[in-house]
Symmetry: C2
Subunit: 429 residues, 2 copies
């Protein structure tokens, strides 16, 4: 073997990607959202791709961590997780990310969120170097395709007038009929057979009505509702009672493990989370209290694909379901999610994916959903190719930004349309 797997370069490219005006309990998505594209280059000239959050605090950490990766073997990733790279305390102490939508903030989680992109890039590079798909490096796939659910949002037809941004053809969805229409287009375009509705935007009655309308329009299709912790325990229980058997699960109805545990103790509707369990340190309390029945893993938070498999094993041992969380991400991360999801035996819920909302990507060829599923690539690495022109274009957008969009802030975006908007105090209802 004359192969040289030493990392000789780590390229970090921050970009801004178009995002439609999707509503959540914190506000609305800005017209562009920051992502970081990572390229790990080996001495042999093999390049592996990774992707993660691109807000300033992630970028600040990415450079020092990239320096520590350089000179290592791409197979020598575990030791990176033990590095105590300093994190600017003001970035995490008491900080919240996108109004808390990304769960607890800790220095360790911030490091993991950056390292995840390096781990994925190293696995991609290793797979390419060896001619093996990433799933084979994780012990092999146990399924040939991974099911995703349609990710429905209440949304405006367009970003506020005067705000630069891309147009989309999805139209508005501001009532139950609009949600059903959106679901219908998701099903037509991508074949999804399960639906998640982002809630916490309108009073619970309206969102209950939306779920009922979905259930009527798509009988037998699993449905989920996710208000991002916007409800009190009592409201959560009321929604659970009213929607009952219509729901596959309720996602983060209330904020924090104690509130989730209280809800879980008083309803049979399973509770899912990507807010109260987003780090290994939060698992023991939540599982011991029976606060959650499904953990939605975001492989960025959790530190990559091997850690995702470990989280899945923990869930399995405790009889807790596992699936995958997603927010604005591109095809690199979707490919990574698909590769690892293919290896997890106890994956019994369709994964979330925000990908259909992204009109832009850095791949030469977009990943395609067929029947709501992504085929598991058996090509080397992640099985995707970087479109350098598009990467450069999206990076120019980031470079030319005046800083307004470099840190995702859904409340700020909302204030453009509603100047009096303040970040809601939870629970809103």
């Amino acid at each position: 073997m004359t192969r040289d797997l030493t990392v000789t370069e780590v390229r970090l490219t921050p970009i801004l990607v178009a995002d439609p005006p999707l509503l959540n309990t914190q506000g609305v998505h800005q017209p562009y959202t920051p992502r970081l594209i990572v390229e790990v280059v080996t001495a042999d000239g093999v390049t592996g791709l990774g992707e993660t959050y691109g807000d300033t605090k992630y970028l600040e950490l990415a450079r020092p961590l990239a320096d520590r990766l350089t000179g290592r073997q791409i197979t020598d990733v575990n030791a990176l997780f033990g590095l105590d790279i300093a994190v600017n305390a003001s970035r995490v102490d008491g900080a919240v990310d996108v109004g808390g939508l990304r769960g607890v903030q800790t220095a360790d989680k911030l490091r993991l969120s950056v390292l995840s992109a390096f781990e994925v890039a190293c696995l991609d590079a290793l797979g390419r170097a060896l001619g093996l798909p990433v799933h084979a490096l994780l012990g092999g796939k146990v399924r040939d395709s991974v099911e995703y659910s349609a990710y429905l949002f209440h949304k405006w037809a367009a970003h506020p007038e005067g705000v630069p941004g891309e147009k989309d053809d999805w139209g508005a969805a501001l009532d139950p009929a609009g949600v059903v229409e959106q679901a219908r287009r998701f099903k037509e375009r991508h074949g999804f057979t399960s639906f998640k509705l982002k809630g916490g935007v309108f009073p619970p009655e309206q969102e209950i009505a939306a779920v009922r309308a979905l259930a009527e329009a798509f009988p037998g299709h699993p449905l989920r509702l996710d208000p991002n912790g916007a409800w009190s325990v009592e409201t959560s229980l009321r929604v659970a009672r009213e929607l009952g058997d219509l729901l596959e699960y309720l996602e983060d109805p209330a904020l924090g493990t104690p509130a989730m545990a209280e809800v879980a103790a008083r309803t049979d509707v399973p509770l899912a989370t990507n807010m109260c369990v987003t780090t290994f340190a939060e698992i023991a309390e939540a599982f011991t209290k029976g606060a959650v029945q499904v953990v939605l893993c975001d492989h960025h938070y959790w530190g990559g694909l091997r850690n995702t498999r470990q989280l899945a094993a923990i869930c399995s041992a405790f009889g807790v379901g596992v699936s995958m969380h997603s927010n604005t991400h591109l095809g690199v991360s979707l490919a990574a999610m698909t590769q690892v999801a293919a290896t997890v035996p106890d994956l019994h819920h369709a994964c979330d994916s925000h990908y259909p909302w992204q009109s832009e990507d850095v791949l030469t060829e977009r990943l395609a959903f067929d029947g709501g599923r992504i085929a598991v690539s058996d090509a080397p690495g992640l099985g995707v190719e970087l479109d350098r022109d598009e990467l450069a274009r999206l990076n120019r957008r980031w470079t030319e930004d005046d800083g307004a969009l470099r840190d995702r802030d859904d409340a700020a975006a909302m204030r453009v349309a509603e100047p009096d908007w303040v970040t809601p105090t939870m629970p809103r209802w």
Copy 2:
């Protein structure tokens, strides 16, 4: 890449290996013990090695599982764990293995115990094919050597007269002075700096005296005592009180999670186990009850090296320590243990290893302890080579055996010396 990683042959070689007359609460080790050596051969002619238990019920399962591995890629192992290969119910329903020394028996655990050898052999073959050490296939080592503890046994000087068996030069150890002398030789020969004493053989007072004698002879050396569940809760607590701070941990003082939980609730001495938590299904109850503070992983039971990493992650998330269990095994398994242990971040206790008691091995070169540590090999695969002549010799011993030794039975061995010996009812004390 023209490499062909297809499994074209799985060679299964049962062997009998010499074992000294080591005493435990069930009886005494037989002069020879069964192991199974697995060779996985790829289309390219690369051979990977694995090793597991060799009793009849493991062998019975090994052939059908080997047939399912043949034709797969060596990178395609995860899916094997989902195969529902029939297990002869009489082998597991209510059965105990070596008087219960291997913990609960289930069909799934029996499958995992066989598959572990296949998984290790596939990783070894993959590493050899790619020129990478096994640890690199698991994300890379986080340490350059793995610490092991000396595994002290009460023992006879020799197997009973008239019983065929190999001689050993360790002499007898039937009282505290004998145990200290044995420890001294372990330290001289291999440099071990922590000691585990297999207990449950003599009344607790004598074993307490042995631990005190060790503490006096080797101040500052971590000490463990393991009676294999031979004590009542009250006896366990009495030993814990008497030995208190002298112990790094008490291993399986009482039998089963409820009894362990009761002991744990009433002592500050940490409890370790390789008996009440030997499967993923047993974790939730034990961890929720705080029954154990350290899980000793036997990678054979748990299904191999990736599963060992998953167990370690579960332990870490719950603040439970992890280390490694060992009983009679050869260098293939010691190499596998060392490779995976090298990748586990939270490994804070020296691993057990029975290896110094094995005078025979199937390797061309024995693994050597230096300062009680095994250096983590960076050679391709496990970094060990098979001695085919020795494998053939030990297999002939198995073939020529009349069946008496094909299933380990420590009570039967004891009856040779003490015809009235019956398997003790637990708790003995």
